[in-house]
């Protein structure tokens, strides 16, 4: 039961993009089409789940086998340790993407290696996985990853629809519709996420009142 709560909280209550405002750089950069958004979301989810699991496992082993002093000194260097774990998984993702999805890898470009510095991943490793056991950490990573993917897709949905009149390559709005080119250009990303954040704030205050 509690495992499910760990999963669900990432989707709305603690959504990494809309509620915590973490991981903004990839969110804005790759949300110009839904395909890119889902690809980036899947890559981030994989890294999140794996790094959360390994970090929880490492912390469990440290606590079990190290003496009091060893634990203290490990505590001092834990952030670099987490970063190395995350960077290894990002490298795996980078190589797999380049081999099997060359088109996606091309369009995401520099933002695949930049998953390393996505604040969500280090934030969850430090804030959740280092304090909890393995199974909840895995679920937390999965929930956060799905929440991130949903948020990216929501932004990409508006941008792609208004910016080109298409969704995943299919024309949705045809006829006399003139695409708002601004939406697929960088300014569109800032405007859409600003409006989404405002909307979720409004929704939140509305819920609290009723």
């Amino acid at each position: 039961m509690s495992l499910l709560t760990e999963f669900y909280k990432g989707i709305y209550k603690e959504n990494p993009v809309f509620r915590l405002a973490l991981g903004l750089c990839p969110t804005l950069a790759v949300s110009s089409s839904i395909i890119n958004a889902i690809g980036m979301g899947a890559a981030t989810t994989f890294v999140l789940v794996c790094s959360n699991t390994i970090v929880a496992l490492l912390m469990f082993l440290f606590n079990k086998f190290l003496s009091e002093e060893g634990r203290k000194s490990i505590n001092k260097i834990r952030i670099p340790v987490f970063i190395v774990v995350i960077a290894s998984f990002v490298t795996i993702v980078e190589m797999v993407m380049a081999a099997y999805f060359p088109a996606l890898s091309e369009s995401l470009g520099i933002f695949i290696p930049l998953i390393v510095v996505n604040c969500i991943i280090l934030g969850r490793a430090e804030g959740f996985a280092s304090k909890n056991s393995i199974l909840p950490s895995m679920m937390d990573g999965l929930g956060m990853g799905v929440g991130f993917t949903l948020a990216l897709s929501a932004i990409a949905f508006l941008r792609e629809l208004l910016g080109s009149g298409q969704l995943i390559g299919q024309t949705i709005i045809g006829g006399g519709f003139k695409p708002v080119l601004l939406m697929v250009l960088p300014p569109g990303a800032f405007l859409v996420i600003g409006i989404y954040l405002g909307f979720f704030n409004w929704l939140d205050s509305h819920r609290k009142q009723s």
Binding site: C25, P80, V84, A87, I110, P187, G194, G198
Partner: protein
């Protein structure tokens, strides 16, 4: 594509501005742009670390990771050219570790040498490790100025120029944003939009203004 130094400077500051068109370094852009002083401090720190990190990663990439005639394995250990290990897949791990330790080292050095500078930059330095602008510029340099692991002509100079100019572009936008946000504090904004949402919308408007520079692109 051959770039001149001047084109590179204009391109990095205005056309491909790090924040407004490449979307790198948004966390400090939103987090530290509430006051003019701290924006200036953060901008200086980022520019400094960007230039240093680009320098170090260029050297590491061309002498250690890439399997070329410059590789240390070829120069020092006489490895035959077809047996030099191709370590370019280690790029992400090596770069992030280099940046993390470089930031730590710079922090210690500044603290020892110049306490005044440390007071100005000190609190921003630890934040910089996880700033995607730094890792972004180093990866971008490799993508732009290397071909199949071999450095292009003048690639070291171009790397330094691009890193420094990108830092300046970041600082300019950060300072502009801080100026606007100081005014926003007093403005009458609908309640749900206060804080982060309106900052994003302002950034969107700034980004539209910066689109005007796209006409200066040389490509």
């Amino acid at each position: 594509m051959e770039y001149g130094i001047f084109q590179l400077i204009i391109m990095s500051i205005f056309v491909n501005n790090f924040v407004l068109s490449r979307f790198l370094g948004l966390c400090p852009y939103m987090g530290v742009s509430k006051q003019l002083d701290s924006a200036l401090g953060m901008g200086m720190a980022v520019t400094f670390v960007m230039t240093m990190a680009s320098m170090v990663t260029w050297v590491l990439y061309s002498f250690f990771l890439a399997p070329t005639y410059q590789s240390v394995f070829y120069l020092l250990f006489d490895t035959p050219i077809d047996k030099i290990p191709d370590l370019t897949f280690l790029r992400t791990i090596v770069f992030i570790l280099v940046i993390a330790s470089l930031v730590q080292f710079i922090e210690m050095y500044i603290q020892k040498v110049s306490p005044t500078l440390y007071k100005a930059l000190g609190i921003y330095l630890p934040l910089i490790t996880t700033n995607c602008a730094i890792l972004g510029v180093t990866v971008l340099n490799i993508d732009m100025f290397f071909k199949d692991g071999l450095p292009l002509d003048n690639s070291f100079i171009h790397t330094l120029v691009q890193a420094f100019a990108s830092g300046i572009g970041f600082t300019i936008v950060l300072i502009l944003m801080a100026g606007i946000r100081e005014k926003l504090e007093l403005a009458n904004i609908p309640k749900p939009f206060r804080g982060l949402p309106i900052a994003f919308i302002v950034a969107g408007l700034m980004s539209i203004a910066f689109l005007g520079f796209a006409g200066m692109s040389v490509e």
